[in-house]
């Protein structure tokens, strides 16, 4: 095996292969030429095929990722109407001043932030607890894991439609249950906080199980002897969780926080379909209009694609700022530990 490997790895130097009986002079020369040609092809293959393998991804990304991203910035400096999306008139930064002067932009930004917090924090905390439980030796553990993924298999559209009914003011099951335990009914559509909470519930329902599985995978990768030595030191289960599990999960937690943050900045389908008035304003008082919904309203209801592009870029900049804050915090955390 090793000898064959040597000769094949350097076919240029080798001349005739050792296994083959040495022939006449001319045939050896032809053989040599053929091998040199083969080795050139071989070298070309070794050199360029990696690029061939990764190029489809990058070509697609250039065409449908990077180019649109930059072009959105370009379009945001123009007036573009939905009815004639290819007809662009230069306006400079007008679109940006327009949206920054619009109270509904800031309202949508605030709503996105709050819905992001209300949906992400409980979701990840519950996912952590759930993962901790799933990490025990359980009967039917696969059953629970699959069941936790059922909401993930449910689309935003289907989930939102069901929750609209559950959160109904007059006949919804949630208000019925509140009434049953003697609490007041809540107007989940029109209440400022109630509606944000309801929209967040849809997000939490769909993603908790998925994140629990991600935490569970990371927990299972923690070496057992860390726990054993902690137990030998007399650490309680809770202290083991705080001092062994959580630090080991830090990269995974950061990963889920980043992914959830991006997801939270994108929330669109849930508030769109939650609105009983079937508009894109996120409720009659814009009480649960997110930035994604505001972008859609400006672009596809009010038909100002240029302004919508400006919103998209503003969102991108906000995300970058959040990303930088995230990176700084995680570096601090790493430095302190």
């Amino acid at each position: 095996m090793t000898t064959r490997h040597d000769t094949a790895a350097s076919p240029v130097k080798g001349g005739a292969a050792p296994g083959r009986p040495p022939g006449g002079n001319t045939s050896a020369e032809a053989d040599h030429k053929r091998r040199a040609k083969l080795s050139r092809r071989w070298q070309r293959d070794m050199r360029w095929s990696p690029y061939a393998f990764v190029s489809p991804f990058f070509l697609l990304f250039l065409a449908f990722g990077l180019f649109p991203l930059i072009y959105t910035g370009w379009a945001s400096l123009h007036t573009v109407e939905l009815t004639a999306p290819t007809d662009m008139k230069w306006t400079g930064f007008d679109n940006y001043t327009r949206i920054f002067d619009d109270e509904f932009f800031w309202n949508a930004a605030k709503n996105t932030l709050w819905i992001g917090i209300i949906s992400t924090v409980p979701q990840l905390l519950m996912a952590m607890g759930l993962a901790h439980i799933l990490n025990y030796k359980l009967r039917g553990s696969t059953f629970y894991r699959v069941v936790m993924l059922a909401p993930y298999a449910t689309s935003i559209a289907a989930a939102s439609l069901v929750f609209v009914l559950l959160f109904g003011r007059d006949y919804g099951m949630i208000n019925w249950a509140l009434d049953l335990v003697g609490l007041d009914k809540i107007d989940w559509q029109n209440g400022s906080w109630a509606s944000k909470f309801a929209v967040s519930t849809i997000v939490i329902w769909r993603w908790t199980g998925y994140n629990a599985l991600i935490y569970l995978a990371a927990m299972q990768a923690i070496p057992q002897d860390l726990y054993e030595s902690a137990a030998l030191d007399g650490a309680s289960r809770w202290r083991q969780f705080i001092h062994v599990t959580l630090p080991s999960l830090r990269p995974t937690i950061l990963f889920t926080v980043v992914v959830s943050t991006i997801g939270a900045s994108q929330v669109f389908g849930e508030p769109l379909l939650f609105d009983a008035n079937k508009g894109a304003s996120g409720g009659s008082q814009h009480q649960f209009q997110t930035l994604g919904l505001y972008l859609y309203e400006q672009g596809w209801v009010n038909q100002h694609l240029g302004r919508a592009s400006a919103i998209a870029w503003a969102m991108f900049l906000i995300l970058i700022v959040i990303g930088i804050i995230n990176a700084v915090i995680s570096r601090r955390l790493r430095a302190s530990s």
């Binding site: 990696p50 449908f64 936790m148 689309s155």
Partner: protein
Amino acid sequence: MTTTMTKPPADAAPEPSRRGRRRSKAARAGGTLHAGPIAYIILALFTIGSLFPLVWSAIAASRDNQRLAQTPPPFWFGGNLFDKLEIAWKDANLGEAFLNTTIVAGISSLTIVFLSTIAGFAFAKLRFRGRNALMLIVIGTMMVPPQLSIIPLYQLVAKLDWSDQLQAVILPSLVNAFGVFFMRQYLLQALPDEVIEAARVDGASSWRVVWHVVFPAARPAMAVLGMLMFVQSWNDFLWPFLVLTQNGSPTVQVALAGLGRGYTPDQSLIMAGALLGTLPLLLVFAIFGKQIVGGIMQGAVKG
């Protein structure tokens, strides 16, 4: 939670823990403890919470609309389920929507799996200049929100006259950094270098290595990635909602949104549609749940 069961029951039935087992407080290693009754109670609550909205959509779909406008809400099935499913199927154009979504999700997930496998292989096992920088770009693209590109893509679709054409949905969905990352992670540990070298020694070109070595080795991960991508594509909402219309060639999600945002006052019909749109994926999860769970967890480690 400090109590632990010392004797693990042999059967793997998904039922709550039986009481009366001998317990010990000798808490040792964290990951291998047996769950106590509280853990099972919490799990039961999560199970109910996860499944209840789905079950209830079936209950609501089986009732007529008047019944849904009464308190208390119905808790058990009525007799209209199949009628309602049939009406929803016709009203929401679900037949065509299923066909369209199957085409879109099928083409998109197969292509993503193929492209991700060859790219993931190159990143995991081949040496080339700029490899690490390119991999960083791949990871970076995961951070770019899709909303940033919808406006130029919409302009493009308008220019090419592609609205209500399925390729308008398929093509942008093919950009998938997660797939590349996922396959790279898998091939790093699942494909020994020696196997590739042995194929090289036999004179195999890179394409033959991909075909005869990488694809067979990557098959389990390819299957999982394919299912994840199928689910994602099936449930994709924003972009199809913008370029497809309910009466043109909708995907299932577009049809459902049309049902919900239309002016049908019949809530049970909407529930029937939501149920129909979800059933195929629930079926996939019921059959391949174990593999999908494994795939998600595999993709998560070092994620």
